[in-house]
């Protein structure tokens, strides 16, 4: 994956997820190549939050000092966030779509990720599980906006 890459490392606790979401929004709003609407950024923030919760609850749960490693990757046509953990991982295609009528109290996270971004991919890399969440830009280039195109 090419493009500018920014990494955030924070303690693996839900207490820090608001800060992680804020960092993503700051990056989306301040990096000149990113062309995402407010709604698209909010969706990506939610998907990132759920990936982090998953990493904390499953991937890092047995580690004495759980850590969240988040990368923001800016490319010409898309923004991707990656979350790494040390757990067994999951296959997003095999997680069932929730049935609202079943009134389950959990199991919504991966489905929320899938519905909030354009692409969810997973891989193993260097002994870590990586989930990558991609949102394609939904706004035109700044130059086109300025010229009224």
């Amino acid at each position: 994956m090419t493009g500018d890459r920014f990494e955030i490392v924070v303690p693996g606790s839900p207490r820090h997820l608001r800060a992680v979401r804020s960092m993503l929004r700051a990056a989306a709003e301040n990096l000149k190549d990113v062309r995402l609407s407010d709604r698209a950024v909010a969706d990506l923030q939610l998907a990132l939050h759920e990936a982090c919760i998953n990493a904390i609850r499953h991937g890092e749960k047995d580690r004495p000092h759980p850590v969240l490693r988040v990368a923001i990757i800016v490319e010409m046509d898309r923004l991707t966030v990656e979350v790494r953990d040390h757990g067994p991982g999951f296959d997003p295609e095999r997680v069932p779509v929730p049935d609202g009528a079943a009134l389950r109290e959990g199991g919504y996270g991966v489905h929320i990720m899938r519905k909030s971004v354009d692409e969810v991919s997973v891989r193993r890399e260097g002994g870590e599980f990586v989930v990558a969440l991609t949102r394609i830009y939904d706004r035109g280039p700044a130059s086109a906006a300025r010229s009224g195109k």
Binding site: L17, P98, D99, A101, G106, Y108, G109, I112
Partner: protein, 114 residues
């Protein structure tokens, strides 16, 4: 973070604020059971909730389940667009009673009791 007050006919309104996630989702779960025990219904006012995650949804579902098991009413009101969208995405929107505001939620509960 979560305030509660009594409404008509012994119903209770719970008002979570900020993020309904993590510890705050757990706190709401803890508030629902005693509120349910106090009267015939609980309304969760979502007007001050800026963000909901899967754990927040879980807390709301736990309230609905408790209400159904106990023969009580459980309703949401003043859902903001983010929460509304999340309920739609997870196919939970149709299982919750939802109203524009606290008054209309209580009115619906009163109407059924009348």
């Amino acid at each position: 973070m979560i305030s509660g007050s009594d409404g008509p006919a012994g119903c209770t309104v719970l008002r979570p604020r900020g993020d309904l996630a993590g510890e705050r989702a757990a706190a709401l779960r803890g508030e629902i059971a005693p509120a349910m025990a106090r009267g015939p219904g609980v309304v969760v006012d979502m007007s001050e909730v800026a963000f909901v995650d899967s754990e927040g949804l879980g807390a709301l579902v736990s309230g609905l389940k408790a209400a159904r098991q106990g023969g009580r009413r459980f309703a949401l009101c003043a859902l903001r667009p983010h929460a509304e969208a999340l309920l739609e995405v997870t196919r939970l929107r149709r299982v919750f009673e939802a109203y524009p505001d606290v008054a209309s939620a209580f009115a619906a509960m009163e109407e059924e009791r009348a």
